[in-house]
């Protein structure tokens, strides 16, 4: 049963969000690679693209989409469950809400964020290639070779560490803010706003911290 709830959360957070993350990734990737290609005489084009997309923008833009789309929904859902006594109803069934409400959302949302991060990176690089190709007519194999050569295991690991950390911190913040609503229904909008802002802020801090640890 817990597995099904996790799967539903992944479906809601990852699969349904593809319609948002794909265009955002295409636009971001094409914009970034287009700009980078113009200054590629001075800088290593593919390396700069990797740094910007996989290390920095990928995790943070994915986190932003998840915060806007899912984290707010989770906060509202938990807030209403608390106000309406639904968490008590779960306990009255002898079921630990940590197991069927909090745990599955933590696992589902974090897994979904990691999946979306991978999708974002792939689509952003593909979108970037299309944009660059329109300007330079660079062959695909040439482009891909440059990207693969520039990609180090550290880049992938850092991206994944960021995605996992963002998923955990976003879910924890939203669950905590939703739970704090208590019995006050008018506290739900405030809790949602706080959860979204704090989640983004924490993600930015983690982003800087992880980058400092690995690259400085």
């Amino acid at each position: 049963m817990v597995r099904r709830i996790v799967t539903e959360q992944i479906y809601f957070t990852a699969v349904q969000a593809l319609a948002v993350i794909v265009p955002v990734a295409l636009l971001t990737g094409s914009m970034i690679l287009l700009q980078v290609s113009k200054v590629s005489v001075q800088y290593n084009f593919s390396r700069t693209a990797i740094v910007l997309i996989i290390r920095e923008l990928g995790p943070i833009v994915t986190a932003l989409v998840v915060i806007l789309r899912t984290a707010t929904a989770v906060t509202i859902e938990i807030g209403y469950m608390r106000v309406l006594g639904e968490l008590e109803a779960i306990e009255l069934n002898g079921i630990d809400p940590m197991r069927i409400v909090f745990g599955p959302r933590l696992v589902g949302l974090t897994t979904a964020l990691v999946c979306l991060f991978v999708v974002f990176d792939v689509v952003a690089i593909a979108g970037g290639y299309v944009a660059v190709w329109m300007l330079t007519r660079i062959p695909l194999d040439n482009f891909m070779n440059q990207i693969i050569k520039s990609l180090t295991p550290t880049d992938l690991i850092v991206g994944l560490i960021k995605a996992v950390s963002f998923g955990l911190v976003i879910t924890s913040t939203c669950l905590q803010r939703g739970f704090e609503v208590g019995k006050r229904i008018n506290a739900v909008p405030m809790a949602t706003s706080k959860a979204a802002v704090e989640s983004f802020l924490y993600c930015m801090v983690i982003n800087v911290f992880v980058s400092l640890v690995f690259y400085i």
Binding site: M1, R4, Y80, E88, E91, L92, N93, G94, I95, I100
Partner: protein
């Protein structure tokens, strides 16, 4: 079920009232098998608070809680889940889960503990749903049900737990509903099995006659009334 001793007991419970009422100011109460206890609170909010305390939904500032003779750790919510599972709590603040259909709500516990979605309602539960006019509403969400349907759905959910004790807040609110007779018949079945029933009654004399024990809750304390009510099965 334990034959001797109280099924649920609270000792020296102190809970401050957050809203209306006086809260509980050192309440002690032992509920034994076969008891049909009518609580008559001066303030309905205190009556509900006491029922919530008995259902372990309220944690006291001071006091001890015993279930089947075992003292429970009130600070550990996980330890209380087993008690909650064995208490039928039917009250105006009890809820169904809004993003599940009525059928899913009724099956939640069985699905969870059976770890399978293939499990279905038992025949007696389906029959109760049919008698309470819920059978054709099984796929509806709680928000699509009217408040009386929700209350009767809570009755089905809580009774399907096969509880060791039933707590009910103001059942007189349901008297006007034609399905009340079904509820009364079901409760009687449990009473005949010696499952204790505790309910708050504020207005209706009928419920005072139902009980074999009455207590008045005033200023946060329980006391015996001057006249005892007649036993349930004689009065009807």
């Amino acid at each position: 079920m334990m034959e001797n001793g109280p099924i649920v007991e609270i000792r020296d419970y102190v809970i401050a009232s957050e809203k209306a009422g006086c809260g509980l100011q050192g309440c002690s109460l032992a509920i034994e098998a076969g008891q049909v206890l009518a609580l008559e609170p001066v303030d309905p909010a205190d009556g509900l608070l006491l029922l919530r305390a008995l259902a372990t939904l309220e944690i006291p500032e001071r006091g001890a809680y015993f279930f089947m003779g075992q003292r429970q750790k009130l600070a550990d919510y996980r330890a209380l889940l087993e008690c909650k599972r064995r208490i039928g709590y039917i009250a105006r603040d009890a809820a169904l889960i809004s993003n599940l259909s009525l059928r899913e709500n009724l099956l939640l516990m069985r699905w969870y503990f059976g770890n399978s979605f293939d499990l279905e309602l038992e025949d007696d539960e389906l029959e109760l749903c049919r008698q309470l006019d819920l059978e054709r509403k099984m796929e509806l969400r709680p928000s699509d049900l009217d408040p009386a349907d929700v209350q009767f759905a809570l009755v089905v959910r809580e009774l399907s737990k096969k509880p060791n004790v039933i707590l009910m807040d103001r059942p007189e609110d349901l008297v006007a509903d034609r399905r009340f007779q079904v509820l009364r018949r079901e409760l009687k079945k449990y009473i005949l099995k010696q499952v204790p029933l505790v309910f708050t009654a504020c207005e209706h004399d009928f419920f005072r006659r139902l009980s074999n024990r009455r207590l008045i809750l005033a200023e946060g304390r329980l006391r015996e009334p001057l006249h005892r009510g007649q036993p349930l099965l004689q009065g009807n």
